[in-house]
Subunit: 288 residues, 2 copies
């Protein structure tokens, strides 16, 4: 069986790295029964559009970074699109490097290019070391590396080491992220629900009625059923400033009676509700 | 008396616009007793550093947009720095325009430049109308406009109309933001606490112990004291993936006994806690 997996390209992005290590971890679980075909997309929206149109079987997209927080576009698409389910999660460490053309010196650099997420992850380093240097956004760290490779020697990029290698750039400085505890969590999205594995978590999104204490009442339901909430993330509802939708992760699988009953009650008590999937929780960060 | 206010410059940014309308609203309240001196800074961190070093008396920084959500850098600085208090809030509508050099046609455009926030706010518009156009990040909408003014006619920017005017650019398309309900909330930060006005709100930030149900227990305190929570925002704790700090807004002022007692209890029950200020809640969005 062949599985087609879409990721945020081009080659050399951390999403690409995550996809490859995810596939390797799956191969260990499934043996050689499944082969994988990777397909790169230009934006997170395009990856998920590819899934919608059945160009791919699964999409792997970043959902959360340990320093920068939620990946808003992923949350917004999950809240909006029906028929997508999270079927797995995968976590990789993010090690960032300052890369430039051979011969470039630190003091030559006038512009530093990267994706906004890695730029944010090096905020202190860039602010201290490159006070008057312009920061420029690109769609991906690979595109940033590509741009630096074709520009004059006043540009540098913040990228993975694999991207530096791909575009023939020198690493001027490595592990430049402000905190060394830099991980990104990816979710694997499919149109098919995942069966219970026994070490599962469940994700939902909802909005409450605009009444005092309405979020508290929802969390009360989880407390009543002794269900552990592991994450809450709010996003603007986009209809009015001060209105929010909430993404919540809980322990357990929808096939478990308690989880099913609690979520049935949550659905009754919310003005908008969507089940985003039950899937195995990622094992150990340091197994990667 | 002169008050020195720092904002995210240069001239023509939405922060500049917010600062001017804030000053006008203050002049209505205070009469001509207070005059204002505006000082532009290059980054949100620099605005707050200016306040720390007493180069300014107050800083005005964006904290939340009705479409894109929280401004992470503002939240992260508020959580980290001691001795800063929110003393007021101000909300302005954000109307975005596609601007370019005189004579540029829509089909000429190869690169669109702006701050990541407005680019996000026009995600659908840009994705539909400019499928293969490169999006490039700049520090501010003004810098984007400046860049377009000095580039060849294949560039466009997403900016305020005041920025287009400042840099002599044509407006090719206006109100291009995906949702028309686009507002940004700013907070005014000072080293001096604000007295009770009778229509106040209070902001805190905390982290809970890493135990099941610990966030629920905090919200339980507000429920017990009949205090209405109007906002909850999580940010990564940055020490470990899956650990968070929470920003919460409640109705009322710290000088009120109930608020004081509830927050004393919250402080006891959290592993990290910081009071971020009590201040008058913004009146009416449509008075602006």
């Amino acid at each position: 069986m062949e599985k087609r997996i879409g990721f945020l390209g081009p080659q050399g992005t951390f999403s690409h790295e995550a996809t490859q290590t995810y596939i390797e971890s799956q191969a260990k679980l499934n043996g050689s029964d499944v082969t994988y075909a990777l397909k790169a997309f230009y934006t997170i929206q395009d990856v998920l559009l590819g899934l919608k149109k059945d160009d791919i079987d699964e999409a792997i997209v970043p959902i959360e970074n340990s320093l920068e927080g939620a990946i808003n576009v992923t949350l917004d698409v999950l809240a909006k699109e029906e028929g997508f389910y999270i079927v797995d999660e995968h976590i990789i460490p993010i090690n960032l490097n300052l890369v430039a053309k051979k011969g470039t010196k630190i003091e030559d650099i006038k512009t530093i290019i990267s994706h906004p997420q890695p730029l944010g992850q090096c905020r202190n380093y860039l602010g201290n070391t490159f006070k008057n240097v312009i920061q420029m956004e690109e769609d991906s760290t690979s595109k940033a590396a590509q741009k630096v490779a074709s520009a004059d020697g006043t540009y540098a990029a913040v990228t993975s080491s694999i991207a530096a290698k791909t575009y023939g750039l020198d690493i001027l400085d490595s592990n430049i992220q402000d905190a060394k505890n830099n991980f990104t969590r990816f979710v694997i999205i499919s149109k098919v629900l995942k069966k219970k594995t026994g070490r599962d978590k469940t994700s939902i999104v909802f909005s409450t009625e605009n009444k005092p204490g309405s979020l508290y009442k929802i969390l009360d339901i989880f407390s009543l059923w002794d269900i552990n909430m592991t994450r809450i993330e709010s996003r603007p509802a986009k209809n009015e400033l001060g209105q929010y939708i909430f993404f919540i992760d809980i322990d357990g699988h929808i096939e478990e009676q308690d989880v099913y009953d609690a979520l049935t009650m949550v659905k009754r008590k919310t003005s908008f509700y969507r089940f985003l999937g039950s899937y195995p929780a990622f094992g150990n960060l340091y197994d990667v």
